[in-house]
C-alpha cells in the first residue's frame, strides 16, 4: 500500500475542506486532502457570509459585519464567536482572491451584502456573487427594464414564476421562453453548459434571444453559461446582444457548484495539495505520539496517510460527516462526541416550518477557541485534531445564510491558530 507522510490531513472536499486545503497550502504546509463528491456539487455558487439573524424573526442584514457582531453577542457559542471580525474578513478576501486567479471571479457589493434573485423568484441576501451574476444585483436594485429568458425543458427554472413573484416590485421585468439550441425534451443544466462552451451554440442562442430584447436594457439567463469559459461566453453574448447579460442561479445541483468544485480541484494540486478526490477515509487511528494514521480508498483501502494534524471538514449528514440513526447522531470518522438534543424526539419541532429551525440543525461538534473538538465538559479530545465547516455545532447555516462564510472562516481559524 502506498504510504504518505504529511503535516496536515484535510478530510472533506466541500467548501470547508477546499478552503482548509487552500489556506494550508498557501502557508507552505504539506497537505493531503481526501473527500468524495459532496455538498459542493450542490452549492448555489453564492458565497454567503451572514444574511439572517435572528432566524426566529428572519431579520435580514445589509451589513454582514455588523450582523456577525450582533450574532456573536447573542449566540456566543456560534463558530463565528471563535474568530475576530478581522479574521473572517481576511479569510474571505484570501478565498475570493484565489477564486479570481482560478478563473472564477467573484464580486461583492463593497463591504455590504448583495441581494439577488433566486430561481423561485424570491430575493436572497448574500455576500460574494459570481461576476457572471453581478449585473443581476445591479438591475434588481435599480429595477432596470430587463428580459429574463428561460429554456424549454430546464426544470426548476421558470422566468414567468420569477416575474410573477417579483412583479409588484419590478414591473419592468419581461420574460421569454426559448428552445435551447440543439436540444429537445428535458434539458440538464450541465449539458447546456457544456454545449455553450462550443461557439456555434452560443451564436444560435444569441440569435434566438436577439429579437426578444426590444427595449430591455439587460438580459438574464439561467446559470448555464459554460463551465470553464463563463467570462468569454458572457462577453460573447453581450457583444452579440448589445446589452449586459447576467446569470440567474438555477436549481441544484447547479453548474455554479460544479464551477466551484472544478476551480478548487484543478488549482489546489497546483498549489501543492496532494488531493485524493472521489476517495474517502476508510479507517482512522490516533497514534500514541498524537499523530494520525488513515487508510484511504474507495472500495478498498489504497493509500495509508500519516499526518501530524488533521482538519475535519467532513460536513453534516449529506456530506457524510455526521450520521443519524435510531440511537443518536454520530460523528463518522473518529466517533467524536456530538453535541445533540438529549433524545431523538427532540430533534425536530412539531412544526416543519418553525421559524427557529430545528434543534438537530444545531447539532454537531463543539470546539474550543482553536477549533479542536471538545467533549461535553469542554475538554479537548485530541491535541492535533481540528474541525471546520458545517460539522460544527451551534449554528444553522441554512437559515442564517452563513454557509460559505462559516466554512471559509472556520477553516482559516483552525489553521491560523495552529501552533
Amino acid at each position: 500500500m502506498k504510504q504518505i507522510d504529511t503535516e496536515i490531513m484535510v478530510i472533506g472536499s466541500g467548501m470547508a475542506g477546499m478552503a482548509a486545503a487552500l489556506f494550508s497550502a498557501q502557508r507552505g504546509i504539506e497537505t493531503v486532502q481526501v473527500g468524495i463528491t459532496g455538498e459542493i456539487n450542490f452549492a448555489s455558487g453564492l458565497l454567503d457570509l451572514l444574511g439572517v439573524h435572528p432566524v426566529s424573526d428572519g431579520t435580514r442584514w445589509q451589513d454582514p459585519w455588523a450582523a456577525i457582531g450582533q450574532l456573536v453577542s447573542d449566540e456566543p457559542r456560534h463558530p463565528y464567536g471563535r474568530l475576530s471580525v478581522d479574521q473572517v474578513r481576511t479569510a474571505m478576501d484570501q478565498c475570493l482572491a484565489f477564486l479570481e486567479t482560478a478563473g472564477l471571479p467573484y464580486q461583492t457589493n463593497g463591504h455590504q451584502n448583495a441581494k439577488i434573485v433566486t430561481p423561485a423568484g424570491t430575493v436572497k441576501t448574500t455576500f460574494g456573487v459570481p461576476r457572471s451574476m453581478f449585473a443581476g444585483v445591479t438591475v434588481l436594485a435599480e429595477k432596470t427594464p430587463t428580459l429574463l429568458v428561460d429554456f424549454e425543458g430546464l426544470r426548476g427554472f421558470s422566468a414567468r414564476q420569477i416575474a410573477q413573484t417579483l412583479g409588484p416590485v419590478w414591473p419592468t421585468l419581461k420574460v421569454a421562453r426559448i428552445a435551447f439550441p440543439g436540444a429537445g425534451g428535458e434539458l440538464l443544466a450541465e449539458h447546456a453548459a457544456r454545449a455553450l462552451d462550443v461557439q456555434i451554440h452560443r451564436s444560435s442562442l444569441a440569435d434566438a434571444i436577439q429579437p426578444l430584447v426590444g427595449s430591455c436594457r439587460a438580459v438574464g439567463l439561467p446559470a448555464v453559461l459554460g463551465i470553464y469559459r463563463t467570462a468569454e461566453i458572457l462577453a460573447d453574448l453581450e457583444s452579440r446582444l448589445g446589452v449586459p447579460v447576467f446569470e440567474v442561479p438555477t436549481m441544484l445541483p447547479a453548474v455554479t457548484g460544479l464551477r466551484l468544485r472544478e476551480a478548487f480541484e484543478q488549482q489546489l494540486p497546483r498549489l501543492g495539495v496532494r488531493a485524493f478526490y472521489q476517495q474517502k477515509v476508510m479507517e482512522a487511528e490516533v497514534l500514541s505520539d498524537g499523530s494520525f494514521r488513515f487508510l484511504v480508498g474507495n472500495e478498498d483501502a489504497q493509500i495509508c496517510v500519516r499526518a501530524q494534524r488533521t482538519i475535519m471538514a467532513s460536513g453534516r449528514f449529506f456530506g457524510k460527516g455526521l450520521r443519524a440513526d435510531r440511537i443518536g447522531i454520530r460523528e463518522t470518522i473518529f466517533n467524536l462526541p456530538v453535541h445533540q438534543p438529549a433524545e431523538r424526539t427532540l430533534w425536530h419541532n412539531k412544526d416543519l416550518l418553525h421559524p427557529d429551525g430545528h434543534p438537530i440543525n444545531r447539532a454537531g461538534l463543539s470546539v474550543d477557541s482553536r477549533f479542536r473538538p471538545t467533549d461535553a465538559g469542554g475538554k479537548v479530545i485530541h491535541d492535533n485534531l481540528y474541525a471546520a465547516g458545517s460539522i460544527l455545532a451551534h449554528q444553522d447555516w441554512m437559515r442564517q445564510k452563513c454557509g460559505s462564510g462559516l466554512a471559509i472562516a472556520t477553516a482559516y481559524g483552525a489553521l491560523s491558530q495552529m501552533k
Binding site: 429537445g184 425534451g185 428535458e186 440538464l188 450541465e190 445541483p253 449529506f318
Partner: protein, 554 residues
Amino acid sequence: MFLTYCAYLSLAVCVAGILWRARRWFFSAIGPEARLSTPGQRMVVMFTALPGILFSRKIWTIFKALMLDVLLQRQIFRQSVVRWIMHMGICYGVLSLILVHALDDLILADLVTDYAATRNPYLFLRNLLGSAVLVGLAIAVVRRHHVAVLKRFNTVWDRAILVILAIIIFSGIGLEATRMISASLFEEMVADYWGSDDTEEITALKSFWAQQFHVVFATPPPLDASHLDTGRQLHADYCAGCHSSVRAAFVALPLAKAITPMAAIFDRMRIDTWLWYFHYLASCLALAVLPFGKLFHLFSVPLSLAVSSLGPAVGQRPESRPIRRAMGLDACTHCGVCSRHCSVTPIATVISNATILPSEKIAEVGRLARDQLTIQRRWRLSQGSRTCTACGRCSDLCPSGIDLQDLWSASTADLNRSGYPGPHGWIRNQSVEQWADHAREEILAPASTDRPRFTGNPNTFWACVQCTTCTSVCPVVAASDDPRRDLDMTPQQVMNLMRLELKDLALGCRMVWDCVTCYKCQEHCPQGVPVADVLYELRNEACRRLDPAVPKKD
C-alpha cells in the same frame, strides 16, 4: 490407365468444385448491402473493377502481401514460431512434393536430361520433404488436441485433412521402402534395363545390391569380396546411371531395414504394387476434395490476403462488400487463433454457446448466409453474436486477413432483420407500459424468488435524494437531444421507480438497455447509490424474464 483416369476425374471434380465455391462469392447475401444488388450485378462490379486494380500501383501492394503473408507467412511467424514451422512444413512439404515428385513426368523429366526418381538429389529431397510434412502434421495433431479452445471444437475437416495427408505421406514412405527390398522388382529391372542371362553376373549384381541397396532375395547371394567386386563393376556399368545410394533415403531406408524379416511375404504379395495404388488414389482423393473443405484455403487465403492488403478503402461499394465477406468466409482455415485471443472466451466457457467464439461463429455465419440455420441455431448464433464486444482482436490476428469484425456486424444486422435481434431488440418493439403489463399478465417469466443483490434490497435506494447528479454525468443521456423520447427515463428517474417499487416499469426502460456501464453515475453519486449496478441487474433480470416470450424453439 485406371490410375490416369482417376487422376483426370479428380482434377475435373476439383475444377468443378472450385467454380462452385467461387460462385458462392457472388451468391452469398451477407449484410444489409446484399439486398441492394443481384449476384449478377456483383459479378459485373467485381470484374470491371479488377483491371483497375491489377494494372495500377496497387499490384505492388498485392505482390508485397503475397510475398510476406502468403509465401513467408509473416503473420503466423509473429504469432508463434512453432505454428509457423508446422504450417511451413506442411505447406512447403506438400507443394514441393507435388512439383518434384507427383508431377515429375511433366516438370523435371523435361527440365533435367538424366532425370530419374531414384537418383539424388531427388531421392533425398523426397525423404526430406516427406519428413517436413510429418513434422508439421505431428505439431498440428498435438496442437489440435492440447490447446484448450481448439480441442473442444475439432471438426471433421480438421481431422480429415490431417488423416489424408498422413495417409499419403506414410503410404509413400512405405512404398519406397517395399520397393527397395523387393527382389521381384530387382529382377524386373534386370530384365528391362540390362537383359543379361549370365547367372554368375546376375548373382554378383545381386550380391552388390543386397549389400548396398538392401534388396532382400529369397536365396541370399554370397557376400564375398570377388562377387561384390564384380557386382560393383556391373552396377557401375548398367545401374549407376539411374540409381544413387539409398543412404540418401534417410526415412525409407530405416523402414526398409525394419521390414526385412517380412520381405519374402511382402514380395510374394507384391505389396509395393498395392501401396502404389493406395498412394496414388489417396493423392487423387486429396485433389478431388480440395475445394470442398478446409484444403480450399490453398486458394482462398492468398486471395483473401491479397484483397485485404488493399486496405478498407477497396471494396467498400455496396456491391463489393458482400463479395469480400463471402471470400472471407471461404478463407477461414479454422486455425483457432481468433478464439484463443477472443476477449469473451471466458463467457463461452460459462454459457456453453460455441458461436460466441469467432472460429466457430464464422461457420454458422456461412450457414446463415446460405439459409441453412434452424430457428434454434439462429437463436444461439444471435446470442453468440450479442456477446461479442466488437473489440476487433479477431480481425487483427486473423492470419488469413479476414475482416471478421465486418462479418460480425453484417451477420448481426442480418440476424436483427430476420427477427433475432436479442433482448435489446425485442425490448424496443414495445413501450415501457406494455412490458409492465406483460410482467403483470405473466407473459414474462415470474420474478426470481431470490432477492437480487441490489434491486431486491430497499437499502440500495433509501439514500437517493433525486438530485439528478447521475443523469447529469451520464454520457448516454448527454448523447440524446431528448432523453424522454430516446431513453424513456433518465438514470435518476429509474432509481425513483425502484424507490417506488415499480420495478416492472423499470425493466422495459430504454435507459436500462442503453446503459454503457461506464459507472460515472455510480462514482459521482453523492449518496453512494450503486446506480450502474442497479441498471445492470435490471437488464439481467429482464433477460431472464423475457426468456419464455422469445421464439427460440424449432
